[in-house]
Symmetry: C4
Subunit: 492 residues, 4 copies
């Protein structure tokens, strides 16, 4: 839940590492990979390498060495854990106190971590001569290695919450790895069962290929995993099948387990699909409702076309309007975003030319951007001038409705301002403004504009000047009133 590079974390102690430290994250990832490798190799080694023929000796030695190297790494990890700060689940703050860290680790997972790191294989090899018993001890204690898989699960839990990775991908990779791991594990167990059975012909592999032990290790491994996967996926060709009670018991357990695993896979993927199709579903449902409405009321084809087109655009606009996120953010961040997004557009609007950056920042912090689908009335004639709008993108038509007839006078484009004339004179709008294409508008309350103008007289004059230059005929009227009684201007 801790963000990747938290700006607020400070290392109070030289010797304590923060868990969000970039290098520690890398180390953790490396450990997870080593653990995965170890969990992969260990059953293979146990099954196929214990009675290995001479030409497998090199491979065997390589695997053993890699195991010991990993054990060393894991030992370092144990020591390191004593120096890593942790997040207290109650207060959600990092705990830097090394005594508390040590205590917590010793109380929770230290013992298991330690036990799983002792190189039992080596000890057994050194201490005992009897091969049989040694193998048994080794395999029992070796199981402790699977305890380390916790590290891999922790990595995936972290990745699932990491915003830089695709969630669906991470979950799919997890599912694939889990499935592969279990089929590999079962394959190895299958081989051990056949290899250690006294009557070689009464085993799953021996009944098909009596001299199976002489085959190449890879062929034997492929045959094992092949049967394992055949069983796991519930295909069950039957070319290979259990031959004795021991195999039947393991196979029954494995099949039951697969029932659960399959359900787990299906449940996970259902879940992802449900999540993935939600947006489309919602879109379809709203369109469907509109479509039913049209057909029930037998509206003419042209109206149907208009309604559906509008609904499509509306859906798009809703997706684009993410005001909710803006509202969730705290003040300082919100201001920065507004400055970044709106300042260039506002500076280029004719009304705010040459206005000081300070005043513009004040204005910009009070603006909101909105996407509006085509064909919607932004301003209706005779409305009171509550807002002014700046077009960020798209086109807006100015419509003159006289005696029930509508005439498009002009088309405003990106950078133009809507409704500023009515706002300045403080009288109702004399035109209807309707979007022609999907448009992004920046809107500002008229009162906010007036407030902002009052803070700096220079900017006030500049804005008035800009307004006069643009709207010629009103020039003298405004000028007179402004010079006579500036404070009595209706809306200013």
């Amino acid at each position: 839940m801790i963000p990747p590079q938290s700006a607020t974390v400070q290392c109070n102690s030289k010797r304590i590492i923060t868990p969000v430290d970039c290098r520690y994250r890398c180390w953790e990832t490396l450990m997870a990979i080593l653990v995965a490798y170890s969990a992969w190799v260990y059953p293979f080694e146990l099954a196929f390498m214990s009675k290995s023929s001479p030409h497998d000796a090199a491979t065997k030695r390589l695997l053993y060495i890699s195991e010991y190297i990993i054990d060393v790494f894991f030992g370092i990890e144990i020591i390191l854990t004593f120096f890593v700060a942790y997040v207290d689940p109650n207060t959600r703050l990092l705990v830097w106190d090394s005594r508390k860290i040590a205590l917590r680790y010793l109380k929770t997972w230290f013992l298991m971590d330690f036990a799983s790191t002792i190189p039992f294989g080596l000890i057994v090899y050194v201490c005992t001569d009897r091969h049989k018993l040694g193998l048994f001890y080794q395999s029992v204690f070796g199981m402790l290695r699977f305890w380390r898989l916790r590290k891999v699960m922790q990595l995936f839990r972290r990745l699932e919450k990491d915003i830089r990775f695709n969630y669906v991908l991470i979950r799919c990779i997890k599912l694939v790895l889990v499935t592969l791991f279990f089929s590999h594990l079962a394959g190895c167990v299958y081989y051990i069962l056949a290899d250690t059975y006294p009557h070689s012909g009464k085993t799953w592999i021996g009944s098909v290929n009596p001299n199976f032990r002489e085959g190449h290790v890879l062929d034997r491994y492929i045959a094992s995993v092949y049967w394992s996967i055949t069983t796991m996926t519930s295909v069950g060709y039957g070319d290979v099948h259990s031959m004795n009670s021991r195999e039947m018991i393991f196979n029954s357990v494995y099949m039951m387990f697969n029932l659960g695993l399959n359900a787990y896979l299906i449940g996970n993927i259902s879940n992802l699909i449900l999540e993935g199709t939600r947006t489309t579903m919602e879109f379809r449902n709203s369109i469907q409702a509109a479509s039913e409405f049209v057909s029930r009321n037998q509206l003419p084809e042209s109206l149907k076309e208009q309604i559906l087109t509008y609904m499509c655009f509306r859906f798009t606009a809703e997706n684009l309007n993410q005001q909710g996120i803006m509202n969730d953010l705290p003040n300082p961040i919100r201001k920065s975003i507004c400055e970044h997004l709106f300042l260039p557009a506002v500076r280029n609007a004719y009304l705010f030319k040459y206005v000081s950056r300070e005043t513009l920042l004040l204005l910009v912090a009070k603006m909101r951007a909105e996407y509006i689908p085509p064909g919607e009335d932004v301003i209706v004639k005779n409305e009171a001038p509550e807002n002014i709008y700046i077009i960020m993108s798209g086109e807006v038509e100015v419509i003159d409705c006289e005696e029930g007839k509508e005439q498009t006078t002009r088309t405003l484009l990106s950078g133009d301002i809507l409704g500023e004339v009515a706002a300045m004179y403080g009288k109702p709008h004399s035109y209807t403004f309707r979007t022609k294409t999907m448009s992004q508008l920046l809107w500002l309350k008229t009162t906010s504009l007036i407030e902002a103008m009052q803070t700096k007289p220079v900017d006030h004059q500049l804005i008035l000047q800009n307004f006069r230059e643009m709207n010629d005929p009103q020039f003298t009227f405004w000028d007179n009133q402004a010079s006579n009684d500036s404070s009595a201007a209706p809306a200013m």
Copy 2:
């Protein structure tokens, strides 16, 4: 997300095509079909036609020619893409600038499209003599053709959002095609594996039918696909099964893949069922709650009957009331709908006979339609006259409640007006109005009626005249008051 025939898109440039152009849509669909055909035929060709017997020669030639024709089409598609406008994901506006279009295509998918269009088969055929290496190159580069399947996925993504097609159907077709394609592909790979294996008797098909190569190409194809489907569906009869390590490896991969595919299928269909049963579920839940309420409180059978009947009708009425959609639509569209739906009914209501179309349009724009389940009180006696209602369909009973006893006086039918008497006199209603069947009522605020009447004096007089004619006894009273002091009429 772009609606099929957007009315707002204008072609600014003669040479640039809009992506919502009807002809371009057809071309895209054609391309998707060709691509699908090509992806289908190519693996078949590779598997069954490479070592073809003489009597397959004609088929082989046909397939090759069709391939080259598709390559030509795809070449045209590449050139065409340079002249198709695209939707900018940020502003949601079409980009017509041909330079930007070209740049975008070159930056994204041009290279892969181009590579997949080069007829490697032809090149290999011309350049090399060695059949083996040629086959290898051809198959590797031929894989690029699967890149084109992107076109088919785009088509489906578009169809899923297209309101003219059934969503469930489109998704089911997609699932079926995906399943069929993979089983076909795996069938072809199976055959290639068997065909190229040195020891013919140790292959899945050779062990069953040693002379399989002499069989008809269709028989071999059916056997391959049969095994492929047996595996995919996890039936796994075992009459055909892997015989060598190579087959085992491919089969294991394929089975693992099928695990995912099956989960994907189930997840998709679960999702569709969940969506499909939602309405029924909600209905059942509300009925269930009512039913539990009845049984817990041990209400008598007659009351139970009434409650459940009412709940059923209520649910239907809620489904029919789609006021939400009306509210979502912009002003111009809403007006058109109201005019289309309500004008005929309003014109036929006695109160509005001979009234001018203009006034009626004003009224109609302020009306709302609502379905009301049977047995509900529309107007309760002694309520203030806030609304008047026009019956669109169904029947409404006029009930006189005197001293606790209810008597049905009259039954109003489609076209009748409710509550206009009280509204005109501005006094409380003197009857209770209760729906008898599921009824659609059109309601209008009394104040809206008065406002609309004041705009045109002629219509005002007409409405008053209509009211007098219908409600005889009130004629003189109203006339007197109106002539003496028209402006002082209580509600007018």
Copy 3:
């Protein structure tokens, strides 16, 4: 969607039947059963009876006769449909006009219904001598019978919405029937494929049992269905398997179909489980949140106990409080329910003894019942007397809080009234009332009580009399004030 016995439907025409008529419902159910039987028997007949041995002749004749009887029934059904009113999907009203009914039927399903009713078997038998062609024609036209399955689906759609049947059960039965039907159908097709194959030894059944045609018809049927189910459930033992291309093709199609069917089954059952566990899930989630809250804040064990116990009771109480349903119901029904539920309890409360039924009905219509978990304060000391409460079930403690110490004075039981003293005197409550067990309280606004009392002076006096008798010491005080200045009583 039409409720089973709608009270509002009236038969306007003697000859037209309403679709909610009880007898017509029975007829429809009978038809559905006949159709199901026919769809079941027809494939069996075609597969196992066409080349029947002499000892099956009786069975064969029986089946044929039953078929013709069903055809007659279906003919009657076609005629009947012309006389059944239908629900107009736009207005949701029944259409009684016989001309419209006929037109609608002719336009929609008449042709298919008619075609599926013609006894092709009989025609073929009479007209043609050539058995082979006859069989072919018969089977092709016989497929039309499956068209009739629409009737069964309609029945199930109706049952799913019928409140008298368990929804989960109906859906499960539907799923089971669909599964059984398809496995039966596939079994029959399997047998036809084997039976009509020229080379008997190369068929799925012939390869296992060469003289299969001599076996009993039931053994052959069981073997067919056994293989069909083995395939459908994707078990695929492989003891029986496809032997020739024709069987492979059908089997592949069937396996693909099963993939969809399985997904459909799983999707449906997932859906039902999701619905079924929702309540428990919500309960668990609320408890879980409370539990986490406790453990995060390390609250002591005794507080934890209290909180969790309270949450449990709260959940139960919420389930019991179904005020939402009451609010949804229309006025007349709501009044009846209140009368039925609350009148007995209110009549027995000491305050309302001997009060007239009319006044009680007025009071009861304004009461609301609520379940309150134990340990909650119903009335807190010094609150204004806004409501009075009557205990329907459970126990309420009267608590005297003096100087921070709480003392339980009395325990009120079912039938007692809470807060009436404060309400009568119009002064703040002098005790805290806390629920001891889960209690159902009936609450009434004090103002509503006063309003109801003012309508009938006799009842007013009775209530005052009852109050005086119960609360002795106040008797004189109230009497004085009431006699002097009855209208000036603070709260009355």
Copy 4:
């Protein structure tokens, strides 16, 4: 639904046991385990012990004896049920009346319970000589034992609602037990089918191992269960398969049943996964939306970092803020929690030193705790002093914003108070307070503080004294005003 140790239940009768009694719960659990054992052993006994060889005699006798012991236990259970109070589903109250308890049990499940407890085996053994008929009777009546499984289901239903157990775990255990039980049951039926078939070689086990009856009982059991699981999981190797019609019929039924069982398993696990991933999903979705917002608007990297970090903390804080639960709890519990949680912190705050416990309790009851993500403004400069805050954990920066520049003056830590200066003087805040780390703040309305202070003059003086000591320079100012006109202090 009854909480484990309900504090409100009182045993009114010595002889009636409450169902939430701890000892009765134990007895119920014991009964459920015995029932499960019995249902497990009975089919095994019937299948493998009826024709047992001499060396199984001991096992057989043991099983029979255990059966009779369980029957005795179950007899006690029947008697006990007459003395256990039950919860009335309508009033949710415990019914203690022994007559009602008896009546209810006799009306519902007594008969079946009684029938399933009669030791038919013994009766049959004693009464009849004919072994065959005896076996048949025994098995038919023995089926009644499965009726007792109801007890196990009740146990699981109770455990699912028990807050002390993990819900997911309980449901998974239930699923596993159900699956194991059915595979065991089917295994036993399989063996009975083979054992009782006249032609031993034509059975599933006899065709593989002709002398199967001579094998060890465990080997035979393993083979049966192995086949049962192979079928249930739809693996279907085919090494064992149905050989005669009787086996085919049972196997078909079992496969169909498994189709449902598998769907049930998958549905359940899907459901659990859906529930389990919801929180992560919501987190990902909110982060995803923020991320899209950033990339659409092409915000710079630094802003992106800030936004995402903030969103992460916000999500954590929302999880920690469980005010909703506090609001749901009744008054007495809420007060105890506030006292437990906030009193130590408040007592240590400098302002409330030496203040009496009574006043502190008053204050604490009006406080609310909230977690606030880092970087949020708790108090903005120039805001009115509505609240004062006490820091429970985390760090808060005091920021001085002069002329657009922000300067961090101080950092407040756990135990410090925010905004008390402005609250005391009743003037706007002169600093901005911004959280530096995730902080838990305790907030109190200024008006609540003033109210609480007015109840006890001593504490009023103490608080003022504390305030003066801490904020030296204001000491005289406050003192003067307070001494002159204590009641006219602006905010006090």
